[in-house]
Amino acid sequence: MKTVYKFAALTLAMFAVSAYGVSQTTSTKTKPSTTVTQNLIRGVIGPAGNNSSWANYSVFNLIPGSGLFPITSTTTVFYFGFTGGTEADISNMVLYTTARGSLTVTAVTPVKLGGVSNPSIMLSNTGVCPVAPSQTTPCIVRFDPTTITLSTANDYYFTVFYTNDTNNSGISGASPNQNQSSISSAYYGGTDYTHLTVGESIPGTSNRGSSFLMYVMNN
């Protein structure tokens, strides 16, 4: 037993020396503390198209597990592109999880902006949109990081319901017509679909390029 302990001590010493002892790089460089912002999936290549008038619409953006890049992140950050309007009023927004290829909801995660799930986004404020939103200069709004690690075994539906009001009648969103992005979408008028529960179904398949959602990143 004594020999085993001696062997363990020797091995540990070898690990320690090889890791720190003669490693000049480790001893002289400091590790950067910032997280590199990376795509979790192939996003929208812009400038994108334009689709207007969103009052009383639920917008589903599908983030397919089959398109995820091999990056592990405990947070997921969504970026919306607005191409017109002065204020976007959101009643609620959630992220639905389904098994890959299925429409049955297995988890519901709230998504927030400024700490709330029903934000009003002031597009006319230069603090929000430095340049007035248009198709060629979309205003990119970054939502709060959502604490979820995306998995290749699942699909995810980022769902937003736009309040039935005049502000939303005047807003426009990025609407790419290309299939280059891995993100796709569907939208439905007249129903708030952001309150589905586990076991219920997404109302239909995504059948067009993404709507509003431009990027899904780790930060």
Partner: protein, 212 residues
């Protein structure tokens, strides 16, 4: 000194166990796969389904194994006579390597789609396709090559006559596919992928190509 040795042994164990003992590989996409839900195409008796995995679309993940996932949308049993993976130089149709692909250790499996251990959702459909994971194939995909997975469904087989394969409707994947009558799983090195095939469409059946 004895205490130091004991402490060293304990520390070594603490370091080794997380590295070796509980090390699980997270499945990663090797190609951009099918975005579902999908459509369906029925009746595959006597057909070879030819799936293209292009080197140009590979995601930079290195893996010594490649795992194919097949999607079924209808039927109770899939009878396969052979499964093969052909390697060609990127953009070429000349075969440079032939690798057998297996399920349950054989290249000619019958897949019991009615079994809930195979397909957890009892009645498979376009909204709930049955995704079957083939055995890991020992091959490291290279961006310099293209790969063709060929699956031949047994001819004159009533099971395959009612078999439904996934048929993607949304052209976002990097995978491509085609099909041809007859068994194309026996081609040899130096042979060619049938010139009558084109790979402008998304693949039937092949859903994902992953590390695990």
């Amino acid at each position: 000194m004895k205490t130091i040795f004991k402490f060293a042994a304990l520390t070594l164990m603490v370091l080794i166990v997380p590295v070796c003992g509980f090390s699980t590989t997270k499945p990663e996409n090797l190609e951009r796969g099918i975005v579902g839900p999908v459509g369906s195409n029925v009746g595959w008796s006597g057909y070879s389904v030819v799936e293209q995995i292009p080197g140009a679309g590979l995601i930079p993940v290195t893996s010594t194994t490649t795992v194919f996932y097949l999607g079924f949308t209808a039927g109770t049993e899939a009878d396969i006579s052979g499964m093969t993976l052909y390697t060609t130089a990127r953009g070429s149709s000349t075969i440079t390597a032939v690798t057998p692909v297996k399920l349950g250790g054989v290249t000619n499996p019958s897949i019991d789609l009615a079994s809930t251990t195979v397909c957890p959702v009892a009645e498979i459909s376009t909204f709930n396709p049955c995704i079957v994971r083939l055995d890991p194939t020992t091959i490291t995909l290279s961006a310099l090559n293209d790969y063709y997975l060929v699956v031949y469904f047994t001819a004159s087989d009533s099971n395959n006559g009612t078999l439904g394969l996934t048929s993607p409707s949304w052209a976002q994947t990097s995978l491509r596919g085609s099909y041809i009558t007859g068994n194309e799983t026996g081609l040899a090195v130096g042979g060619a992928i049938p010139s009558s095939l084109n790979f402008n469409s998304q693949p039937y059946m092949l859903m994902y190509v992953m590390t695990d």
